[in-house]
Symmetry: C2
Amino acid sequence: MKKHKEILSRFGINKTQFRIDLLSIFFDCKSSLTTHEIFERFNKKINKVTIYRALKSFEQKGLIHQVPDKNNLKKYSLCNLDSCSPDSHNHQHGHFICYSCDQTFCLDDSTIKIIKTSSGHIVKNYNLILEGYCTDCNSSQTIFQN
Amino acid sequence: MKKHKEILSRFGINKTQFRIDLLSIFFDCKSSLTTHEIFERFNKKINKVTIYRALKSFEQKGLIHQVPDKNNLKKYSLCNLDSCSPDSHNHQHGHFICYSCDQTFCLDDSTIKIIKTSSGHIVKNYNLILEGYCTDCNSSQTIFQN
DNA sequence: TAAGAAAACGCAAAAGTGTTGCGTTTATTA
DNA sequence: TAATAAACGCAACACTTTTGCGTTTTCTTA
Ligand SMILES: [Mn+2]
Ligand SMILES: [Mn+2]
Ligand SMILES: [Zn+2]
Ligand SMILES: [Zn+2]
């Protein structure tokens, strides 16, 4: 799509077919993506090293950010492209991790409100991790409801 | 120490020398520990597999809990031994991760206050991650202060 | 639009973390 | 003290991620 090419240019990334497709996958994705999930979406036609390098580049340029994952995998979500750049990622939002499907969802500011009082440390960024059962898993597995 | 042996018994873990030492390391540690850091503290005299299995056991029995880590490593901190057990871990506290030294600190309840409004998900647990510069790193690297 | 430079790519190898199987040792229980 | 269970060391393995290098593609600019 035209928009995706324009974004890659703006963030200083060469417009290869793979990177255009990768960006559009992130735009379509409601939650977050692991390397393996991306590999699957390309029907294993792309080299995994290429995926790793693209993700690292996207992250450095401010397109995507890592999200917490219970299985210690690298997992990424699209940034707010207005507030992130090669210079700095600016994230003040929470993440929801589903016990059942392991997906990580970004939560927007309206979903959570945080009030923090002081400690001895200098806080530059924060991330609230909520754990539980996502809407999809909850509706299909009422056993977990209480 | 006597206290550590008593705790291991109470949580159903055999009192081997290594596990006694491991527990006391966790008691001494102000922040959190990776497998590698534990390996170093034993001067590489202990097999890494033994460390992995001890950590898994400690976690299952309710002695330690995993904490978030920027490098996707397994990292653990001591639990509040009054509120955690083999049956369930009960954590509602935040963690502070230092950009400079990578250490993860547990924050007690008085440090943070969280108010969360609803989303479509069912929340079972939460963990607030604060990022920035810890007191030690901050005092030695004033360049980061602003 | 045709070089030349820079970025991205594929393949192979390696590094790093964590797991599993199995025989042996150590601790607990009775 | 003998039987049982837990913990241990070693070797092998699985898996994710990184690095090196030569090739291909994209970008720049003249
Ligand atoms: Mn970002
Ligand atoms: Mn706990
Ligand atoms: Zn789910
Ligand atoms: Zn620090």
